[in-house]
């Protein structure tokens, strides 16, 4: 596609429910990144993929968070048993490859609200 797309744009859920957030990177980009933006923590890295592999999961805040990428394209971020502190905007980015001199481009984000 022309840019990174994310769905849904907004998600409201009840505490304890599971949610799935989707990211579709720029066509041809092999690296995909998840970040989140919250008032208290600013913009923080969660996980990235090179192809279907996730070399760095160090930013995932707890084992309730997981992500996968299949076919080297679309990625899904899953949050299980959501908590109120999970409320944030979840941003996805992509780049041609990971590392080196590669510019990252961001999607519009998914605003998650946990009631």
């Amino acid at each position: 596609g022309a840019g990174v797309s994310q769905s849904p744009s907004n998600k409201v859920t009840e505490k304890g429910k599971d949610v799935e957030l989707r990211c579709d990177p720029i066509s041809g980009h092999t690296a995909l990144y998840w970040y989140r933006q919250s008032l208290g923590q600013g913009l923080e890295f969660l996980i990235y993929f090179q192809g279907n592999s996730a070399p760095d999961k160090s930013g995932l805040p707890s084992d309730r968070f997981s992500a996968e990428r299949t076919g080297g394209s679309v990625s899904t971020l899953t949050i299980q048993r959501t908590q109120q502190e999970d409320s944030a905007v979840y941003l996805c980015a992509s780049s041609l490859v990971a590392g080196g001199l590669n510019e990252q481009f961001f999607g519009p984000g998914t605003r998650l609200t946990v009631l």
Partner: protein, 108 residues
């Protein structure tokens, strides 16, 4: 990990004024990007500038990697320039570390 500090945290300008935003980082970097976050939350790429100087219309940026800072210049500011400006760096782990941003308000 690397520390990224942006200044000033807030800036209010009259339309037509010029401004300079600064980004200091604590270690050497492979990548540095400047973004503008518009009122709808979209992060818009302004510059990819690990070193050197680039210009794009009324905006320009300079990164002095040896001294660990980058500057973003906005000339003849317009109300549409309002928003939050972020500096983000990659110290070699492929992921971006963001500063806290500079919130800019340009009034007519």
């Amino acid at each position: 990990g690397i520390q990224v500090e942006q200044s000033p945290p807030d800036l209010i300008l009259q339309e037509g004024a010029n401004s300079t935003l600064r980004c200091n980082f604590s270690d050497s970097v492979n990548n540095l990007q400047w973004f503008h976050q518009n009122p709808w939350g979209q992060l818009i790429n302004l510059f990819y500038i690990p070193s050197g100087t680039k210009q794009n219309g009324r905006l320009s940026a300079t990164t002095v990697a040896t001294e660990r800072y980058s500057l973003l210049y906005i000339s003849s500011s317009q109300t549409t320039d309002s928003g939050v400006y972020f500096c983000a760096v990659d110290e070699g782990y492929s992921t971006l570390t963001f500063g806290k941003g500079t919130m800019l308000l340009v009034s007519p």
